[in-house]
């Protein structure tokens, strides 16, 4: 489960907080969408939840662990994937996922089983021994997904994971995430693509200028703003 209460992040020299008093909760088996334009504070929020940035104020827990004081425990229980996370050019797909498996404390038969399962599920067997530098963008993203899932974390955070991918790979990524919801994972999904939100998300928070300006299920938002089209609601709130 993810609990965020009044999370705030200010950077030295910044005029306004990048993230300002953000509140939300995500339950297991739920996909929670974080929707917002570029610069809304989505990535900063997710980075705080992954412990790479320290909150200036507020409180957040991942799987019951405080992101500010129990960083190592949080990192053990979270899988993170973004469009910016790269793969090592000079490691094969298998080596990279195995490396992260070992970093997460897996070894021996358990690690091998996880690798086999993931490579089979994500249809990565054909390129398991190919160096990262020679993989296509779609293959790289699959490696990143496998890397985020290798330790079977209860919480998954996706930061615009389909950015820059072609339609086929986008579809495969969205389907993989939908399958993960079925496994009872807690999923936080940041995007600005409306179709992904409607396909995947159970609830949505719309962010603008570092704040959450609307939050609820898709139907709740449609009712609240008297609009069927989510895109219109989004433009109305962020503009």
């Amino acid at each position: 489960m993810i609990e965020v209460e009044g999370l705030t992040k200010s950077f030295p020299g910044g005029e306004k907080p990048a993230v300002d008093d953000v509140w939300f909760k995500v339950q297991p088996g739920e996909v929670f969408g974080l929707l917002g334009p570029n610069g809304a504070g989505k990535t900063t929020t997710l980075r705080m939840l992954c412990t790479v940035l320290t909150p200036t104020a507020g409180y957040a827990t991942i799987a019951g662990f405080d992101v500010a004081t129990q960083g190592d425990k949080v990192r053990e229980h979270v899988g993170f994937l973004s469009a910016n996370t790269g793969v090592y050019d000079r490691m094969t797909a298998l080596e990279m996922v195995e490396y992260y498996g070992r970093l997460y404390g897996l070894s021996g038969g358990h690690l091998r089983d996880r690798l086999d399962t993931l490579f089979h599920t994500l249809q990565m067997d054909s390129f398991r021994h190919i160096l990262g530098g020679k993989l296509s963008t779609g293959m790289k993203q699959k490696v990143s997904i496998a890397r985020a899932l290798i330790h079977d974390p209860p919480v998954l955070i996706f930061d615009e994971p389909t950015n820059g991918l072609d339609v086929l790979v986008q579809r495969a990524v969205v389907q993989s995430i939908a399958a993960l919801r079925g496994q009872g994972k807690t999923i936080l999904y940041s995007t600005h693509i409306m179709t992904e939100v409607t396909k995947l998300c159970d609830r949505v928070a719309i962010m603008a200028h570092g704040r959450i300006v609307a939050c609820g299920t898709l139907n709740e938002l449609r009712t609240q703003y008297g609009q069927d089209d989510l895109e219109e609601i989004f433009f109305g709130l962020v503009s």
């Binding site: 190592d72 793969v87 997460y104």
Partner: protein, 434 residues
């Protein structure tokens, strides 16, 4: 800090570096090609020089005195000169094979012969030379060569030493005629350990002394080159490729990440030095075989390389703490150039003539270690100042710990790791470089 995590990161980074063709080509393949090439080039040059035939034209050959003979047929009558007057490699060493030198006839225009390369050097004997010499006067003999022509210069140098030897023989003849001993002009015997050695030994010792000064500097440059590229790749390069954020989100602690990278960079930097030294030693061994004398103090070299390890640690830690500040590989290289500018004066300070290893110098990072390396390499009666190892290593250890502490701090700073999301900090100067 968990050792298995540190080891896992370190070995991954090391494997990654060894798979980087650019780094491997630059640091590992270059010495394999460079030193044998230099060795072969030296051999080829020596062989070419040995095969050179020098042609000497004598203007006024008939003006030479009948005794002692300068030439016989078309050959010079060469004779060993006293070592204390030696001014060139005149047959005082059985192993030194001098290139042949031959006298050829000159035309009516000897200067044109020299210009047209019919002769390499001209010896001009003035009118009445024999009579002047017999009368005890000092006639002028002139040697002329082509300016800017290396072969002509070598021939001139060779001819000069032959003429000087012949001049000695004339002098000895004069003393004999006067009933004086042939070494009458030698008021005392000068024993100079340098010039009393065979020429080849002198050359070998000169190379050895030069190497004992230059090698620590070369080692330092190799260490730096071996640390900069990998450190930039493992910090700024990872940020650029997007793998740094992935690593930061893993359960590995920042200190484990830094120490893992530090280990990899240090091993790579030190490994590149060991690799270079192996090939350099091989090249030196070949030169030693040719000269017949040692040119490198091998036990000292081993000590020198071992002392390079703390230097590798220092450079690696500094490179990591600077490299992580950069957002791209290119930017990282800009940040690390000043490190060379700081290290160079410290290195050159140790190479200044008369600079000795004392307590004060021992505490200066880089300088102290390099002075100690020079001591280890030098062949002298002075004992190695073992007592200075403590201050040298102590000073380096303090610097390594400080640099590592800084590197870990840098890896914990959000404004360093995610510079693109930070505010406008640091004013105009910062913006100029970011």
């Amino acid at each position: 800090m968990r050792l298995p995590v540190l080891r896992l990161i370190a070995f991954r980074e090391l494997r990654d570096l060894l798979r980087d063709r650019r780094s491997v080509l630059l640091l590992l393949v270059t010495p394999v090609v460079l030193y044998p090439f230099l060795g072969l080039a030296t051999f080829a040059m020596a062989k070419l020089a040995a095969e050179q035939k020098f042609l000497v034209g004598i203007v006024g050959k008939d003006r030479l005195p009948p005794t002692p003979l300068l030439t016989q047929d078309d050959q010079f009558v060469e004779e060993k000169r006293p070592a204390d007057r030696a001014e060139g490699p005149v047959g005082d060493d059985a192993q030194w094979e001098l290139p042949p030198i031959r006298v050829v006839e000159v035309s009516d225009d000897p200067d044109a012969d020299l210009r047209d390369k019919k002769v390499d050097v001209l010896l001009k004997v003035p009118e009445g030379f024999a009579a002047e010499v017999a009368a005890g006067r000092k006639p002028k003999v002139i040697i002329e060569h082509r300016d800017g022509d290396e072969k002509s210069k070598l021939a001139s140098r060779r001819l000069r030493s032959i003429v000087l030897a012949w001049k000695d023989r004339i002098l000895q003849e004069r003393f004999t005629k006067a009933g004086l001993p042939t070494d009458y002009d030698q008021v005392f015997d000068l024993i100079d350990p340098i010039t009393s050695k065979p020429k080849l030994k002198q050359a070998a010792d000169a190379i050895r002394d030069g190497l004992s000064r230059a090698l620590p500097f070369l080692l330092m440059m190799w260490l730096l080159a071996g640390a900069i590229q990998p450190a930039v790749d493992l910090t700024a390069g990872e940020k650029e490729r997007g793998t740094m954020e992935t690593l930061l989100i893993s359960p590995a602690d920042r200190s484990e990440i830094v120490y893992g990278k530090f280990f990899a960079v240090t091993v790579f930097s030190f490994g590149s030095v060991v690799w270079n030294v192996i090939w350099l030693t091989a090249a030196c061994t070949v030169v030693e075989f040719v000269l017949g004398y040692p040119i490198i103090n091998k036990p000292g070299l081993i000590g020198c390389v071992v002392l390079g390890f703390p230097l590798a640690m220092l450079f690696s830690a500094i490179c990591l703490s600077l490299g992580v500040f950069a957002r791209s590989t290119k930017e990282g290289q800009y940040y690390l150039v000043p490190l060379i500018l700081v290290a160079m004066p410290l290195a050159l300070w140790s190479m200044m003539p008369g600079k000795e290893l004392d307590f004060g110098n021992a505490l200066i990072p880089v300088t102290g270690a390099m002075l100690m390396q020079q001591k280890l390499l030098a062949v002298s009666a002075d004992p190695i100042p073992w007592g200075m190892f403590g201050p040298v290593l102590g000073s380096l250890c303090v610097c390594v710990v400080a640099a590592l502490y800084t590197a870990v701090r840098q890896f914990r700073r959000e404004d360093v790791l995610f510079r693109e999301v930070g505010g406008d900090k640091g004013g105009k100067l910062f913006r100029l470089f970011s």
